[in-house]
């Protein structure tokens, strides 16, 4: 396993200059996820437009993998419907578990995280933002910020 498989330039770019970072003035969904064992914390904010995720933003602290994954996620999911989000999320999880999946073309950025599957201990870093988003969507009706701990 090469280090370059993990720390691809595109991942380092996202880590160094994250996209969609920061809390929006208003959000329909607010979810925070933490991995107490890593100390990683991520917050995910979604502005909805009906079934569609009009805006996805995140904030938090963590390693390169977890923050780059959050940044990439926020990009690829913008404008997608909830059903599409579920579909993409399942694909992404399958990829993280080492399955050979075909990602839609406009999501090839996510491909950069494929190498993470070879580093079992880092998979949970890559999944943190996704799990947090999922949890937020599932509890959309809660009417408040929800939180989840994973490890």
């Amino acid at each position: 396993m090469q280090l370059n498989d993990l720390y691809k330039d595109i991942i380092l770019d996202h880590y160094e200059s994250p996209h969609n970072r920061g809390r929006p003035p208003h959000a329909d969904i607010e979810a925070e996820g933490s991995n107490p064992l890593c100390g990683d914390d991520v917050e995910v904010y979604v502005v909805l437009d009906g079934e569609r995720l009009k805006e996805v933003r995140f904030d938090g602290a963590g390693c390169a993998i977890s923050l780059a994954a959050a940044s990439m996620m926020s990009e690829v999911l913008e404008g997608k419907t909830k059903d599409e989000v579920k579909e993409i999320g399942d694909l992404f999880k399958a990829m993280m578990h080492g399955e050979d999946v075909a990602l839609p073309e406009e999501m090839e950025d996510l491909e950069a995280l494929k190498g993470v599957a070879h580093f079992p201990l880092r998979v949970k870093c890559a999944l943190l933002a996704w799990t947090t988003l999922e949890h937020g969507l599932a509890n959309q009706d809660a009417g408040r910020r929800v939180s989840i701990e994973v490890d």
Partner: protein, 417 residues
């Protein structure tokens, strides 16, 4: 090398040090998590299983007599190693964690009641924290914390207000597994005793690395792990003063710890058997005895000297790394060979990952010290730890690896500086 201690000769005794990782020679700097094992310890296991494996105690046949003699011999070796007054105050358990939980259950339930107090420090490993939290909750007692200052030392001034007549137990680590700090346990024991409190010392990071004398320290309980002192995994030690063991109720019930079992009640064997229910970890206890022999051959003073000079060497080098923040004292004389740090712009997990690509094994995370992490406002640290088989060249490799991590994360580092 340094101090007449021949580290290259020591390395020859550790077969794992020949292993290659990603085609590079292993640089093992995670001995605080678990140590590597000399050939003598591995041989002890093989010898046991191929020559005299049998259940111990009361087997009236030769193999069982041999196994029993070797098992009890290991107890005597461990007792001498920490200068315990007799082998009977050595209880074999799985690890430090079990040793501490044994005290929680077998001593704590009868001796800590509502509104009593237990005092621990903010730098405790979860294994010397969670058991007391649980005991305090179960008994309605109060758990108090001795704080740590910015330099990584216990704020001992606080003791005067923290210890009271209600303090039943002070539980404190001898050496911190994150900060490296050597705590002045002897003084703490003295002050605890003045208030009638017992004192438990978590010696997981001291017994493997420096001479420890329980009679001189005068602690009531002392806990440590065999796997951190060149012994096999699966065996740990609780030392306790004899009169305490005698008064304590048993922990687990079962074979070997009884004297007489009737349908409705039972009587107990004397310590140490009272606390060793069921078939013990015979092979590993005997191999721990071999580890003690090996450490005695190296000489614990020399082991300490070697680590001291290595730590000095490492601290000097780390001090030069831009953007590196070290936790714990800078004076090697007051600390063990455990060095924790964070780097600006590179997460500890990423440091460890990049070091691994150079075959350097360090640990990254909270090191089972979440409260201490919160104290220093970090989520995790990177930690390198040394033992008798580590060299200055390996410290150099560590420093090179840190530079590599900074290069990989070049932009991030720049941005954060």
């Amino acid at each position: 090398m340094q101090n007449g201690f021949d580290v290259q000769a020591v390395r020859q005794d550790f077969p794992i040090l020949d292993v290659q990782v990603h085609g590079k020679p292993l640089v093992y700097l995670d001995s605080a998590a678990t140590s590597q094992k000399p050939q003598a310890v591995i041989d002890s296991l093989v010898d046991y299983y191929t020559r005299y494996n049998a259940n111990v105690h009361r087997g009236i046949y030769t193999l069982s007599e041999q196994a029993t003699a070797a098992y009890e011999d290991a107890r005597a070796k461990v007792a001498r190693f920490i200068n315990a007054p007799s082998p009977e105050c050595i209880i074999f358990v799985r690890n430090t964690t079990e040793a501490i939980n044994l005290v929680r259950f077998a001593w704590g339930f009868d001796n800590v009641g509502a509104n009593d107090e237990i005092l621990i420090s903010e730098m405790e490993h979860h294994s010397n924290l969670v058991p007391w939290q649980l005991l305090a909750q179960d008994r309605g007692a109060e758990l108090r914390y001795l704080r740590v200052n910015n330099e990584g030392r216990l704020m001992l001034d606080g003791l005067d207000v923290l210890i009271t007549e209600r303090t039943r137990l002070i539980a404190v680590s001898h050496v911190s597994n994150v900060l490296g700090t050597i705590n002045p346990v002897k003084g703490i024991v003295k002050r605890g005793h003045k208030f009638g409190s017992l004192v438990l010392v978590d010696a997981a990071q001291s017994v493997p690395h420096m001479p420890v004398d329980v009679q001189e320290m005068d602690c009531d309980f002392l806990a440590f792990s065999g796997h951190k002192m060149m012994g096999p995994t699966g065996v740990g030690v609780l030392y306790a003063k004899p009169h305490l063991l005698e008064a304590m109720r048993p922990f687990m019930g079962g074979g070997s710890m009884i004297r007489k079992v009737m349908l409705s009640e039972s009587t107990w064997a004397d310590a140490p058997q009272k606390f060793e229910a069921g078939t013990p970890n015979i092979a590993d206890v005997i191999a721990l005895g071999a580890a003690v022999d090996y450490l005695n051959e190296l000489g614990m003073d020399d082991v300490r000297e070697h680590e001291l000079s290595l730590t000095q060497y490492a601290l000097d080098a780390l001090r030069e790394v831009t953007g590196l923040r070290m936790f714990g004292p800078w004076e090697p004389q007051t600390r063990g060979g455990v060095v924790s740090f964070v780097l600006d712009g590179v997460h500890p997990h990423d440091i460890a990952q990049i070091l691994d690509s150079e075959a350097i094994a360090i640990r990254a995370g909270h090191h089972c010290c979440q409260p201490l992490m919160r104290r220093y406002n970090v989520a995790a640290t990177a930690r390198a730890s040394f033992y008798a088989y580590n060299t200055e060249e390996e410290v150099d490799a560590l420093i090179d690896g840190i530079h590599k991590a900074q290069r990989v994360f070049g932009h991030a580092v720049e941005r954060s500086l």
